[in-house]
């Protein structure tokens, strides 16, 4: 986390340096500028036009303000000495300021000054000139918004200005934007076909959605331009579809990770032990509440540690949920082995008790679990934007999965667990204390549910009902993936997550979920033992 913060400071500074280096400002001294401003008060429009373009050529940042005032009719000329000033009506006088320095001048009586006249033609020139000027502004945000504005208006007149600005531009991003604005303007002009086709290529390299907007009107134009536009539109659409699919996959993976986290503990208790734990969701819920408590303690006693709160909550949640799991196994479930339906009912009762206990303790409404800073924010990937929390959830779920696999494959507990699963009697006659293995297995499954609760507290409301929302989905994942097989759970969770996200655009979130549920129900009919079914007597019993 520390590293993270350092990094962001570094990036900020870097940006600042670039900013200074890139300043396009070319200030001109007042002496050169003054006559040009005076020239605005020429006696005919032609002279004014010339004055405007002369002013613009200086590229001085003050020019745009003066031209603004001109266009708004705030620029006056004193009848006596012909000085040009910025005026504001103030009773029978004009409150006057110097257009260049901005210093206050003596008020000028209204009768002794004249407004510099502008007509529509001039106003348009002024507008274009101002656009051009902000294109040259030394503020990068201003330049960007000027380019964006032209991208919208697609005014062909701004082409020369854009050319100028592009030549001067140093920021790559803004430059690209300007080039696209120019291409858009070209498409809107009566330039030659080959120029336009080049512009089409330019446009379609940019933001796909904007490009679609620019190109769609051209689609029906006769001749090579229309064809080029159509081809460009097609390729943009394919690209959009591609990124859309990527987005669905990523969203699906993150939903799948949530499912995986919720289901993986169940996969152990149900899959490995054959115990139906309807209170599994409550183990998740208790993990989330543990996070809440940990954060409360940190807030009051060590606020500086807040960014580490989740790391502290992980082992705490594992121990709390796992401990409760062991107690449940020793106290109730062990009396019900071999009676799966009764186990189901008893654990449902446990889930009610746990929910009510939490409700009596913490209240029925949501508690506020905070996000550490590193969970906040988002980043761009191609054409899509992803939040960090989405990414972290995926990473976290996969790590939990990997660690669990390691525990099962490489540790003594894992070995014993597998032995007991495969042949309980043989295992016990080999000296494995099966009751303890049962209790620890159940504790492990419950503890992992607690860990899942830590993660879910970051993306879901933490209330006593938290677990209820996950229990059916998690069972579906385990059943779909195939019982007794963690890989099945992984594949099951991810494919259900992705299927959900792909169905959502067509069917809406709720209907999508219903469709997935119905598909699973149908799927179980076809493959009652799930995707990755073990075959054999052990399973049938």
């Amino acid at each position: 986390m520390r590293l993270n913060r350092l990094l962001s400071v570094f990036i900020l500074m870097l940006g600042f340096c670039c900013h200074i280096a890139q300043s396009n400002a070319q200030t001109v001294d007042d002496a050169t500028l003054r006559p040009l401003v005076q020239a605005l008060a020429g006696d005919n429009f032609e002279n004014t036009t010339k004055a405007i373009s002369d002013l613009v050529k200086t590229g001085d940042p003050r020019v745009s303000k003066i031209l603004d005032a001109l266009s708004a009719g705030d620029l006056y000329v004193a009848k006596a000495d012909k000085t040009v000033f910025l005026g504001k009506r103030d009773g029978s006088d004009y409150a006057a300021t110097d257009p260049l320095t901005g210093t206050k001048l003596d008020p000028v009586p209204r009768s002794s000054a004249e407004k510099i006249k502008v007509n529509n033609r001039l106003r348009r020139d002024i507008a274009a000139a101002i656009g051009g000027l902000t294109l040259m502004s030394d503020n990068i945000a201003e330049r960007r918004s000027a380019a964006e504005a032209i991208l919208k208006t697609r005014d062909p007149e701004s082409i020369p200005l854009l050319d100028q600005a592009i030549a001067a531009e140093k920021d790559a991003g803004v430059k690209v934007l300007m080039q696209q604005a120019k291409a858009a303007a070209v498409l809107n002009s009566d330039a030659a076909d080959d120029v336009k086709i080049a512009a089409i290529t330019e446009v379609s390299a940019g933001n796909s959605r904007d490009a679609l907007g620019l190109l769609t009107p051209l689609e029906n134009v006769q001749g090579p331009v229309g064809e080029a536009a159509k081809a460009a539109i097609d390729s943009i659409n394919t690209k959009l579809a591609f990124w859309n699919a990527i987005q669905n996959v990523v969203y699906g993976l993150s939903l799948g990770s949530v499912l995986l986290l919720a289901a993986i503990g169940l996969a152990i208790t149900f899959g490995v032990m054959g115990v139906i734990n309807m209170a599994h969701g409550e183990m998740v819920m208790i993990g989330a509440y543990t996070t809440f408590v940990v954060q409360q303690i940190i807030r009051t006693s060590a606020p500086g540690l807040f960014d580490y709160s989740l790391l502290i909550a992980l082992p705490a949640a594992f121990l709390v949920s796992g401990g409760i799991g062991v107690v449940i196994e020793r106290g109730i479930i062990r009396f019900l082995y071999g009676r799966p339906l009764e186990t189901l009912l008893a654990t449902w009762g446990i889930s009610l008790v746990l929910q009510q206990a939490i409700r009596s303790w913490f209240g029925a409404s949501n508690v506020q679990v905070g996000n550490p800073s590193w969970m906040a924010g988002s980043f761009d990937l191609g054409l899509i934007t992803l939040t960090w929390s989405r990414l972290w959830i995926i990473v976290f779920a996969l790590s939990v999965f990997a660690i669990l696999q390691l525990v099962l494959k490489k540790t003594m507990l894992g070995l014993r667990m597998r032995a007991v699963t495969q042949n309980r009697r043989m295992a016990s006659s080999m000296g494995i204390r099966t009751p303890w293995v049962d209790a620890l297995t159940f504790g492990l499954g419950s503890g992992i549910a607690g860990i899942a609760g830590v993660a879910l507290s970051q993306i879901d409301n933490v209330s006593p009902n938290l677990g209820q929302g996950y229990i059916i989905d998690s069972f579906m994942v385990v059943v779909f993936g195939g019982v007794g097989n963690l890989w099945g759970t992984l594949v099951g969770a991810m494919s259900l997550g992705i299927a959900n996200k792909f169905l959502e655009p067509f069917a809406g979130a709720v209907l999508g979920k219903i469709v997935v549920l119905v598909l699973i129900i149908l799927f179980i009919q076809k493959r009652p033992r799930g995707l990755f079914a073990l075959k054999g007597r052990a399973i049938e019993a």
Binding site: V510, I514, I524
Partner: protein, 392 residues
């Protein structure tokens, strides 16, 4: 003649239960309608409706026991059939409102006007007719159960797998009925009913008649269940419960037997829902909550599964407790319900009736031993639930 026919299909307990139900079907309305309110025997209307509600739950429990207690299919989705029956009845009641709704549309129920719908969706047609609605009360749950069961039983989905997908079924329906564009009033469901078959639904007389109908339907359900259980089909079902694959090796198409009893049971549940809705005055998607279906399971477990009247006792007792606790100690109710699940499964697997049964057997055993003759361990009435054993 008829009594003889009756008693070949119903055992003594069932006979008593039926007689009692028929009796209260007449006595409760009489007491409510004829006795003065000051009389100690007068039953106030709210109580009539409350007991009526309990009896619809009892009907649901009987339906559930038919599949769980006698055939080993633990359904965690029977609430769905109950709710579907309820919705069918609710649709009839909605159409009866006619122009008396808030928006006074002669045809469209209020919620449709509110959603700016212009005409009645196709599946709402016909529900202005009571008999059509009554048919749908059994056909819709029956058809769903048939389709679902046909798929599930044919591919031999059993045990907890089946339980879990029945739960998923009711969950999917819950989500679906929450949607406004399903056309069933979304979140709010169907309510504000005015009358049924032309009678004001709030009137005491109507309430009493609904009560009587519920008691009679429950009596009928007890009879139908007894008839099924005491037939050879019932023996097959128990055989399926105890050793399903053995039954197959005897040449029985187990899936069809299950499908039969499953569908019948769903229809009973639908009737229960249809009787429930006019008595509570509302039906909304929360009836599809998986928790409701599991709660129904505990009624059966408490009363004694695999018995015909156990579920009735369980449903009435548990719901009485629920009414009492949620009013007196709302915090405690979930603790109590949760504890009930745990205690019943751990210590009372055969429920109250099972306890009573084994107590009686013990007495009989002692008496017999006194007489010093080996007792034939007949247990016609006792529940006996061996663990299902897989035929090897």
């Amino acid at each position: 003649m008829i009594t003889q026919w009756f008693f070949t299909h119903v055992d003594r307990r069932g006979g008593i239960a039926i007689a009692l139900l028929v009796a209260i079907a007449f006595l409760v309305p009489l007491s409510n309608l004829l006795l003065p309110e000051t009389s100690p025997l007068h039953i106030p209307t709210y109580l009539v409706s409350l007991i009526g509600k309990y009896l619809t739950y009892a009907l649901l429990a009987v339906a559930l026991d038919l599949v769980w207690g006698f055939c080993g299919i633990l359904s965690l989705g029977h609430g769905a059939f109950f709710a579907l029956g309820g919705y069918a009845m609710g649709m009839y009641l909605m159409r009866q409102i006619g122009p008396r709704g808030v928006y006074a549309d002669p045809v469209l129920p209020d919620f449709m006007v509110f959603l700016n719908w212009k005409e009645l969706p196709w599946f709402w047609h016909g529900f202005d007719n009571f008999w059509f609605a009554a048919l749908m009360v059994v056909l819709v749950p029956g058809a769903l159960a048939f389709g679902f069961g046909w798929l599930a039983f044919r591919s031999r989905v059993t045990g907890v797998y089946l339980s879990i997908i029945t739960q998923a079924l009711t969950y999917a329906l819950l989500l679906a009925f929450f949607r406004n564009d399903m056309g069933f009033g979304g979140n709010n469901g169907l309510t504000d009913f005015k009358d049924i078959l032309g009678f004001n639904i709030q009137a005491g007389t109507t309430r009493s008649m609904l009560f009587a109908a519920t008691a009679l339907f429950l009596a009928l359900a007890v009879f139908v269940s007894s008839f099924i259980i005491r037939s050879k089909l019932g023996k097959v079902l128990v055989g399926v419960r105890d050793a399903e694959s053995r039954m197959r090796f005897l040449g029985y198409r187990v899936d069809r037997y299950k499908l039969f009893v499953w569908t019948i049971s769903a229809m009973m549940a639908g009737i229960a829902g249809a009787l429930y809705v006019p008595q509570v005055g509302i039906i909304n998607p929360s009836e599809f909550e998986p928790a409701n279906s599991i709660e129904a399971v505990i009624w059966v477990a408490v009363g004694g599964r695999g018995t015909i009247i156990g579920p009735i006792i369980g449903a009435v007792l548990v719901n009485f407790g629920k009414t009492y606790f949620t009013a007196a100690f709302p915090e405690i109710w979930l603790f109590a319900l949760g504890a009930l699940f745990i205690i019943v499964t751990l210590f009372l697997p055969k429920g109250i009736l099972g306890l009573y049964g084994s107590w009686r057997t013990k007495l009989a055993d002692r008496a017999a031993r006194k007489k010093d003759s080996a007792p034939p361990p007949v247990a016609a009435e006792n529940v006996h639930l061996p663990e299902p054993q897989a035929a090897e």
